[in-house]
Subunit: 197 residues, 2 copies
């Protein structure tokens, strides 16, 4: 027990856990790419296993069920998206003008909620939306509106500005009337009205 | 069997059913008044029975459970509110200028969703929002925006304009930060921006 190889390194998980975490990420990345390419509904555990180069048993062991996998992909995707907003390339990430960041946010949030609405459906009871997903988006919009010099009740204006981007999740049945291109175009007009531009 | 008293009148429910329907309305009105006065959480079946002047057994027979009663009050209240919008006194009902109707709609919808958010919580599994409640409000806002001569994607603008009024139902935990007076004030500002006034 005095062999230093048996002592965990301070601040680093033991190698087995690190491997497990890496495998989990690989599986989630493979699953997310398949979902983006083919739609959540048509993605099978077999296809995820094949894309990640592991056996189907491994996928089941990690995620218990197809629903469990979909719920994990949902969380993974939201976390990735938040990281892009906070530190990814401009204009979605920092460094661009606030108006350009707001437009990039709108486009990217809409695509993300379209994907997530599908994942929430496929995750069934395992799923539900990542806690904090809405409040992260709301905080970011409030920040950008403030940067744009918008006055008034910023929190309430942010609620209004986010609403059309949430349509895929809140009212999925209305999406036939609101294809993504139309939502984005209308949303830019809304953002201009709210920001007074 | 040839006695006409045994034949139901064409187009009229039999007397027993008419009485039952009237009793149901009386109970729902009594329950709704109590909910408005004391808050849904504190309303008991005993209090509703006493207010309507019937035995508690009658209330249980009609609504099965406290949750069932709360769900019925929710539907009853939404139906009443829709009737006021369509044919009640101006400015909520027809006859006022579209801008005044829009302001009356915002105030009244906010109060209604505050009440309904409570009822949805108390109705538990029996409840859930009345189907069509959102789409009725959305249709009315689209109509008023059109009357106001607003151009653009009216359906999408209506989604944005409704969102803050839906806060009590969609994000009840944020209500501590958004008391009703603040929501209404911010909402009028939002309506001005969206309608370009």
């Amino acid at each position: 027990m005095s062999d230093p190889h048996f002592l965990p390194l301070v601040g680093a998980p033991p190698p087995e856990r690190r491997d497990a975490a890496r495998n989990r990420e690989l599986l989630l990345d493979a699953a997310k790419k398949l979902v983006e390419r083919c739609g959540a509904r048509s993605v099978t555990m077999d296809a995820v296993a094949a894309a990640a180069g592991v056996g189907k048993g491994t996928v089941f062991r990690r995620f218990t069920s197809r629903e469990g996998l979909m719920a994990a992909v949902l969380n993974h995707s939201e976390t990735e998206w938040q990281a892009l907003v906070m530190g990814g390339p401009a204009p979605l990430g920092p460094g661009a003008e606030p108006w350009d960041r707001l437009l990039a946010f709108g486009r990217s949030r809409l695509d993300t909620t379209l994907l997530h609405a599908e994942l929430i459906r496929e995750a069934g009871r395992s799923g539900g939306r990542a806690r904090g997903a809405y409040s992260f988006a709301a905080t970011h919009v409030r920040y950008l509106l403030t940067q744009l010099g918008v006055t008034g009740d910023i929190a309430l204006l942010a609620v209004a500005l986010l609403a059309p981007l949430e349509l895929p999740i809140d009212e999925p049945e209305t999406l036939d009337d609101f294809p993504a291109e139309r939502v984005f175009e209308g949303w830019v007009d809304l953002a201009r009205r709210i920001a007074g531009r």
